[in-house]
């Protein structure tokens, strides 16, 4: 059996309180308490001085310290705030394990040799954390992570082989297992040394596996190796150009090198990207960024093409950059594990699809990703509502079929006017036609005048077909009566009457 690893543990006291100061800006000097499930889990020194302690109820804590600031416990916030601390420690030493937000451990053998002694290594790390993050930390060294944690609380460096002695005087509470320590207390076992003196086999049979693990900790036999954190991969590639790029062919050349570099880096990690963000900075400081989406996975050639089209679009556009590009950066988004790509045998995945997608991506390069659209059908009542346009390459989520009472009958109009045009509808006596709240029409429509054009006789009409949509949402509510109208000159229109105003919604042409 291997002996426990010499471990240095960096501990930031009252981390949930410090995290609140970092994230929310509530000063940790003031009395602050963090609550979880109605009980205090952490508090600031000021609050502790006023009598607030862990485990108190909110009301009790507030009665002891009336000016107490109370916040809810958020493990995500603690972890986010701790990230810079870990990064600061990683600048000095390698191989850091985050034990929990507020504590990180590392094997001290290497740093101790590098800095001269364990003492100096601990001092250097605490100093680094204070300088980089402005966070107060304590360090402790012992054999094993559990003992190192207790040593850090005491701010001690336990000499090698002395860990068991150091632990034996500790209170059993430090195991952080309230149920077990309560039980041990009633059995008369108060310190870790007394607990460690119990036979290991009996502890396992009487108290179960978790207690057996705690028993090993208490005996200073914490031989679990450190789970060293791997720093997140840096996948983005960027390059600065001394001569700003003004011409498309130069840009294409630059893009090719950069794209291959990115692809190599991705392939080295066994990854592929499904989205690509191209960022460029011009010599005048303009920043241009655009994301490219792709159904399939982007190959090196595909990345090169996209970067080239992108730059062509920027450099040739009239409202384009005022100066050449001096920095290019490619950031892969939507990174997935590259499991190889199997082209389809039939249908859409053929060569025609590939060619068409390249053409669409080119136009997206010229005009922007939102310029080429794909249409998806969905539910709705008016012909415009039943179509959703998404940028080409975006996911097309099909909506489940549902009945839509009040949908217009088939065939649909071939022209849907984007901005409904106002129109005047008159009856045989040249009075405007209206529809009342009970959908009774004032008179049969006889003539229709679109904007300033002379009136045209109506040959046939049908309606009113009421629509009363989204009445529960004030900004989106729509209440109208629709009519199909055929004119004597052969035209057929879809009219809508809403709040007394007639409009042409669509043309059956």
């Amino acid at each position: 059996m291997s002996s426990p690893v010499r471990t240095l543990l960096v501990w930031c006291p009252d981390w949930p309180v410090i995290a609140i100061e970092i994230v929310a800006g509530i000063p940790a000097r003031a009395p602050v308490a963090v609550l979880h499930a109605g009980r205090v889990v952490a508090c600031s020194p000021a609050a502790r001085a006023a009598g607030v302690a862990r485990g108190l109820r909110k009301r009790e804590a507030q009665s002891r310290c009336p000016e107490l600031v109370v916040t809810e416990h958020d493990p995500g916030r603690d972890a986010r705030a701790f990230e810079p601390v870990v990064a600061a420690v990683e600048q000095v030493v390698a191989g850091v394990e985050v034990v929990r937000p507020g504590a990180c451990a590392l094997a001290v053998r290497g740093p101790a040799r590098y800095f001269g002694s364990e003492q100096r290594a601990a001092e250097r790390i605490v100093e680094q954390v204070a300088q980089e993050c402005g966070v107060e930390a304590q360090a402790g060294v012992a054999d094993g992570v559990f003992a190192a944690g207790l040593a850090a609380r005491a701010g001690r460096i336990v000499p090698p082989g002395q860990t068991r002695v150091f632990l034996s005087g500790m209170d059993a509470h430090s195991l952080d297992r309230p149920e077990l320590t309560g039980l041990l207390r009633r059995l008369g076992v108060r310190t870790l040394g007394e607990f460690a003196a119990l036979p290991a086999g009996d502890v396992l049979t009487r108290f179960g596996f978790d207690a057996a693990l705690a028993h090993r900790f208490a005996a200073g036999l914490d031989e679990r190796p450190l789970a060293v954190r791997r720093p997140p991969l840096e996948l983005a590639v960027e390059e600065d150009y001394e001569e700003p790029i003004e011409r498309v062919d130069v840009a294409a050349f630059a893009a090719r090198a950069l794209a291959e570099q990115l692809h190599e880096r991705l392939a080295g990690h066994g990854l592929a990207c499904t989205r690509l963000r191209i960022e460029a900075v011009t010599a005048h400081g303009q920043e241009l960024a655009r994301s490219w989406r792709h159904d399939g996975l982007l190959s090196a050639a595909a990345i090169t093409d996209r970067v080239r089209w992108q730059l062509e679009g920027w450099l040739t556009r009239k409202s384009g950059p005022t100066a050449g590009i001096w920095r290019l950066r490619l950031v892969p988004d939507g990174v997935v594990v590259h499991a190889g790509l199997q082209p389809g045998l039939w249908g859409e995945s053929g060569g025609g699809r590939e060619r068409a997608h390249r053409a669409f991506a080119r136009v997206q390069g010229l005009l922007g990703p939102e310029s080429v659209l794909a249409a998806v059908l969905r539910g709705g009542r008016s012909p415009g509502d039943q179509v959703r346009l998404v940028p080409w390459g975006d996911e097309r989520v099909a909506e489940p079929a549902a009945p839509w009472p009040g949908q217009l009958p088939v065939p649909a109009p071939a022209t849907v006017v984007p901005e409904p045009a106002p129109v005047a509808v008159y009856d045989a006596q040249d009075r405007p036609v209206t529809v009342n709240a009970r959908l009774a029409i004032s008179a049969a429509p006889a003539r229709l005048a679109i904007e300033d054009a002379p009136p045209v006789e109506i040959a046939g009409w049908a309606g009113p077909w009421p629509v009363d949509e989204r009445w529960w949402a004030p900004g989106e509510a729509r209440r109208q009566a629709r009519f199909q109208v055929g004119l004597v000159d052969g035209r057929a229109l879809l009219l809508a009457l809403s709040a007394g105003e007639w409009t042409v919604e669509a043309v059956y042409d």
Partner: protein
């Protein structure tokens, strides 16, 4: 010169499968064989001298009947071809879907802006049919350049508007809607006549009477009862 109007329908003498007039045969050979043809809805075949939409050709559609565009796209899209529509922000997509256009193979560029010729040229590289509604009149140079691009790439350029040098021009007269009464009924289908005029050997006008849209939204043949007898119409060379 007078021409017979060709009537749509399976019993028409010319639309029998495998039967062609000698003049059609000549055009099909000139077009480079059947591989160079995009399939078309059977009802519209009598309009196309080559017996399909010839790859590399420019087929313009006279504005006024926008439902003709989805009807033509539906014919080619059923066979797996890709299409793009440039500069038609008001095209009824629902009508296109009802007409039979496969929306998963249709791309829309509603607002190409002043750079529309570059957009059309880029699309012709990879898309089988490109419909373009131009914002204004097209100069002869731009028109011939894009037509040449289509010829070179084997795509079909389908301008929705006047186009100098189009191989074929399709015009639909304003038809008659059925189904609308006074205060009742609904628009059910429309009957109209589509006419093509072309250049050179395709100069003889051809026309066909169809339901556009039919009762389901698709282009449909005119039912036997309402089909007119053969009529002689005045023809003129383009």
């Amino acid at each position: 010169m007078a021409a017979l109007e060709v009537v749509a329908g399976s019993t028409g003498p010319v639309s029998l499968p495998g039967v062609r007039r000698a003049s059609d045969l000549h055009e099909a050979v000139a077009a480079g064989g059947v591989d160079r043809l995009l399939p078309m809805t059977p009802e519209l075949l009598p309009l196309l001298p080559a017996g399909g939409l010839r790859r590399g050709s420019t087929v313009s559609v006279t504005p006024g009947t926008s439902s003709l565009v989805p009807a033509l796209l539906a014919g080619v899209s059923a066979s797996g071809a890709w299409s793009a529509v440039v500069g038609m922000p008001s095209l009824g997509i629902l009508a296109a879907a009802q007409a039979g256009v496969a929306l998963e193979r249709l791309a829309l560029v509603p607002n190409p802006g002043p750079e529309w010729p570059a957009v059309v040229a880029a699309l012709l590289d990879g898309v089988d049919v490109v419909v373009v509604a131009t914002p204004g009149p097209v100069t002869g140079r731009v028109a011939s350049r894009l037509s040449a691009r289509a010829r070179q790439r084997g795509g079909v350029l389908m301008p929705y508007g006047r186009w100098a040098g189009a191989d074929l021009t399709l015009t639909a007269e304003r038809g008659v809607w059925e189904g609308l009464g006074t205060g009742r009924g609904r628009l059910r289908h429309r009957e109209l006549t589509i006419t093509t005029r072309g250049r050179g050997a395709a100069g003889r006008p051809r026309s066909v009477r169809v339901q556009l849209p039919g009762p389901t939204g698709r282009l449909a043949a005119v039912s036997a009862a309402s089909r007119p007898a053969l009529t002689v119409i005045a023809g003129e060379a383009a």
